[in-house]
Symmetry: C2
């Protein structure tokens, strides 16, 4: 019987903080990590080991990783763009790393300045290098849709997975809706196909965005397909700072609120999570999203005469 | 074979305008109705015949109905709270009326100052009175959840339907998620049960709110259950003016964007609909919602380094 409970991977401290331009003080980041841990999150993507010049917000990766690693029972994941930064991450104590490959050529070049083929070759080198005791996650960006090229055909994503999945059978693979433009039918269909094709070797994650309001709908579609691990970002952080309203990752609190209301256990306490999300939303430069926080912050409104 | 296409009922001019406090000039309302019609909407809830004192925004119901009735091929629906206002609506030319009954006692008393039993008795009187040529829609408010009492048990909603559905077998019944707090599993379940219990006599509508971000997810759940008519409001109008962020009805443009992307025909052109929604969003006193409009208005943002 499939376990009906789910695990949320809080990616706000990395994916959410990264596009924020003003540097968030390291102690503030650590305090928020502690709040997320206290709310019950047991998997957090805490930071990225990456060029300070490319992503200045992640310049304190070593301190953040050290602080996160002290939180009891927390599985701390860090993002690395290549073998060089993998080695730095492991020197700093990382025991769980995530590597990103974009399916689409245009996104791959824009995001990491290399083609998907070059990224796949780097992934192969990473697998040759990686300490057997370090857990590995593969983030497949633009698995459904590319900001430059539009919809990505399932066969294109599956062709990349055909190459990558066998390299490390126990890998965790996150299929990422980078743009928020995929619809639930396509989420369910790609996971159905991938899970049938690659069997129980890899474990599967859905990473979704809420830009077009389908964040939770897509999580539910992946859940229906059998996915039990979901990325989410507290406060819906991760939106583009240049596009107010075009918010980013699906909000952790929206996913928790919905799943718990459906009787699916997340292990997370909504109230302290909402408190952390409210703090995230007012970080200078943040472009917060999510709906549940705003709905609950708003005064109770029973509707004005003739409400339907 | 079930038709896979859907019909959207645009309720913004009634449900969306109603809570806006500053009076929207009648000519502005008529212009927006014309824009919605030009975008392809062929069913619109245009206004309500109701006490001017209770709902001052609807004081121009007669003029609005007359103007809407001149739009070619448009099925114009108006809300009436009782037989007295039904008669006024029909005198003014209404050929399609909607009547609301709340399942929950607390919402019913707050909304129309009568119990569900009293509202059901008024519905019976309406059915005795109604001209056979006038189409009837029954809006079942708080069919899933009440702003005062919380979740409404399916058996409570079904008990009310047991009394009401047989009274007029050809009625269109809208099950309304008044609070936006229902989850897709319960939407699907109640429609499954109701459609099996009452057969093909009534036709079914889902009326959802997006307050907690589940507006489109719930539309898709109702669609999967076989529902093909959906209420929606352009610009997501219908939010509570006292709760910024706590937006209201699911946005018509979000539903159109999603369904069309899934290959389901709505007959509506997104671009002119978005233009109308953008105008609605800046009406003085409006509390607009919806995600697609904001996402498309935002500059393109391909993500900042290492985007997932």
């Amino acid at each position: 019987m499939t376990n009906s409970n789910v695990t949320l991977v809080e990616v706000g401290p990395r994916d959410g903080f990264q596009p924020i331009v003003p540097f968030i003080p390291t102690q503030e980041k650590i305090r928020l990590l502690q709040s997320l841990h206290a709310a019950g999150l047991r998997r957090i993507e805490a930071t990225a080991f990456v060029s300070d010049r490319a992503v200045p917000q992640m310049a304190d990766a070593t301190e953040i990783l050290a602080a996160a690693s002290r939180l009891p029972g927390l599985d701390v994941q860090v993002l690395v763009p290549n073998v060089k930064y993998y080695e730095r991450a492991v020197e700093a104590g990382a025991r769980h790393v995530a590597f990103v490959i974009s399916v689409s050529e245009a996104h791959s070049r824009n995001n990491v300045r290399r083609s998907p083929d070059e990224a796949a070759a780097e992934y192969e080198r990473l697998i040759e290098t990686i300490d057997p005791g370090v857990a590995l996650r593969l983030n497949v960006a633009t698995a459904f849709d590319c900001p430059f090229d539009g919809p990505v055909a399932a066969q294109t994503t599956l062709a990349l997975l055909d190459r990558l999945a066998p390299l490390r059978p126990d890998v965790e693979i996150a299929l990422c809706d980078t743009t928020g433009r995929v619809t639930p039918d396509r989420v369910a269909s790609l996971f159905d196909t991938a899970m049938a094709r690659y069997g129980t070797g890899p474990s599967w994650v859905f990473h979704g965005h809420d830009t077009y309001g389908l964040g939770v709908a897509n999580v539910l579609a992946a859940y229906a397909a059998g996915v039990r691990v979901f990325d989410a970002s507290f406060g819906g952080l991760g939106g583009c700072p240049f596009a107010p309203g075009a918010t980013g990752n699906v909000a952790t609190e929206d996913v928790v609120w919905t799943l718990e209301r459906m009787g699916i256990d997340t292990g997370i306490d909504l109230e302290p999570l909402l408190a952390a999300a409210a703090e995230a939303a007012v970080l200078p430069g943040a472009n917060a999203g999510g709906r549940v926080r705003q709905a609950l912050e708003g005064a109770r409104c029973a509707g004005v005469g003739l409400a339907g």
